[in-house]
Subunit: 376 residues, 2 copies
């Protein structure tokens, strides 16, 4: 199980710096978790991840359940041994991927009934299954199965989904206690769409179940940025201060800065890895596209202020060349850079929280990014 200790809360905002202790190592919060969808963070090795400062990664239950499948994972006693990663892992419940990726999916009281996007096979995942699968994966942090809704969604749809999510959370908790003796830390997921009173209802219902941590789900699903921030702003304080608060699937560097200042502790997003594969690099001066002709002859690193493996050893011109040539090394070097950027940003924020200089950090961050936080 886990333990969460908060060392410092900013006097200037709700940002907090803590340590999340797990059996596989400590996690210094606020933290970003690189996404390792199918048992690998796309394009990089575990050593690359550690070099970037990754303390915990995320695995996608939906993908791993379908391929390689739990029979294979069982032979390795979990995902860690299978993928050669010995630090903590958080797995999602699979709900969001079933909702967004499965060929056909039907939500019933019982759970999800869906067809694999890989081979069309039929599967049923109940809340109990979601806990069992994640226990087989032996992730250090596992998530309750939740019911997702599209954006925009009306209040009735949002209310029904959150209430189903609560009933599923009860079943997840029961299975977690009964079948696993609380082996891995189970987090509840707050739903409720873009309706603050529904978010409150969801948070209160889940808090009654006393999970070791809580997440905000259903954000960054297409809503305007200010709406996302409003929901996070009103929802985060509802969650117990002594427990980790995780915002799922978010976001841009600007999002992370804003959400940390609102009190969030944990994040995951495909943005640094996916954008890397599309040639977009996050730098101390904002985003750049390495395919831009300006880099063709540039002997300097893509980000001269960056200390990552890529920027220490390769020029913008080389990254430009690799990307234009669609060389495999392009994806690796770009991914290393972007993950380092994200993880370095989190470390910088943590230091600013501990030194109580978060406002200064934030002002400098936006000044350097030439950005007003609109993100991308």
């Amino acid at each position: 199980m886990i333990n969460f200790e908060i060392h410092k809360t900013s006097s200037q905002c709700r940002a907090r710096a803590g340590t999340l202790t797990t059996p596989r190592g400590d996690i210094e919060t606020p933290i970003f978790m690189p996404v390792g969808t199918a048992g690998t963070v796309k394009g990089v090795t575990p050593e690359n991840l550690k070099d970037c400062g990754a303390q915990i990664i995320l695995g996608n239950t939906y993908h791993l359940y379908l391929r390689p499948g739990m029979d294979v994972i069982n032979r390795f006693s979990g995902l860690h041994g299978f993928m050669n990663w010995d630090r903590p892992i958080l797995t999602d419940s699979g709900g969001f991927q079933i909702f967004s990726l499965a060929k056909i999916s039907k939500t019933t009281e019982k759970g999800f009934d869906f067809q694999s996007h890989i081979d069309g096979t039929r599967h049923v995942i109940t809340p109990e299954d979601a806990v069992d699968i994640q226990t087989t994966l032996d992730a250090d942090i596992i998530m309750c199965l939740d019911s997702c809704i599209p954006y925009p969604a009306d209040e009735e749809t949002a209310r029904k989904a959150l209430e189903l999510t609560t009933r599923w959370a009860v079943r997840c908790r029961d299975q977690w206690v009964r079948a696993t003796d609380k082996k891995n830390a189970l987090f509840g997921i707050v739903q409720g769409g873009m309706f603050p009173h529904l978010r409150r209802q969801s948070a209160e219902e889940l808090m009654a179940l006393d999970f070791p941590g809580y997440a905000l789900g259903g954000l960054s699903v297409g809503e305007p940025k200010n709406l996302m921030m409003e929901i996070a702003d009103t929802s985060l304080p509802l969650l117990p201060e002594e427990k980790p608060k995780y915002i799922m699937g978010v976001g841009t560097p600007e999002d992370l800065v804003e959400l940390v200042s609102l009190g969030a502790d944990m994040f995951d997003c495909v943005m640094p890895t996916r954008n890397a594969r599309n040639g977009q690099l996050f730098t101390s001066r904002g985003k750049i596209n390495i395919s831009n002709a300006a880099f063709k002859q540039d002997t300097r690193p893509a980000d001269p202020e960056c200390g990552c493996y890529t920027c220490r050893h390769y020029s913008g011109a080389y990254l430009h060349h690799l990307y234009r040539s669609r060389e495999l090394l392009s994806y690796q070097l770009n991914t290393i850079h972007n993950l380092h950027y994200y993880l370095h940003l989190m470390r910088t924020m943590r230091t600013a929280i501990i030194e109580d200089t978060f406002s200064d950090f934030k002002a400098q961050f936006y000044r350097k990014n030439n950005s007003n936080g609109s993100g991308g």
Copy 2:
């Protein structure tokens, strides 16, 4: 420039173990050179290459000339700085790629007139240009521009191509002396198709030019394996014993074993890297295809006898999963394995030569591979 010292010649065959000294480091021969076509050995980092024991890599002049282009390479004072590789590099002359890849190519006395396969632009490469471009790349070993022929080719075609290759070799040598003061070591390339007397003619004409090393070109172009071996068998002894002998573009592990026993010192081939990307792994027990269902649940390394990074950290089941999922990490891990296999094979042969146990090595190699040397 380079120096070549032979430490030991087998009493059982013509295999020899030597050291090729270059300004950027020593190369223990016989050696295999991983192919880094476009300024990167596809899928791996320079650190991966060093871990595999790579002492020298090959760059393709044709590709690098077209992209990134010599203006970019010049800014890095050569290919080494551009691609972050500080050990020796050999570049080919570009002739074979113009012959096999360029959209339209015309061979005249002057040189090659061709269209880029990337953007259709027109280019002319003369023997002098080939030396100049390779000098800009600052490869430690550079190659004369040679005229390639398809297989099969009649004697007249083969004779004309070899005689043109000789005239170009004279021009390459002149340019090398005049324009570069013999800065990098220039090798001559023996042509002559599948005609032993033409190979002899070519070798004699080139030896009169006193190059620091010699290569056999025009092999492994579709001819039967026994014909390739026959040409190598009759041609290698024609070359000066005190100089390195390089067989271009070859081959399978079995080819390397046979050709080392015939006295060849240097090799390059895309096979370990290309096959890795197609899921084919070379192992101590022969070739395997990692996509085979037999690996789905296999918790052992792909080659339990292998000491490479991949086999030390990952199972056959994981490699199978990555390959089936077309994950980027698949290409990297498979490539590391295959390059390690090739380079380890060369080291094993070198030890066997020095200990004068090459026959024993060879017998064991074929016994373990369950192979009669037919390769593939």
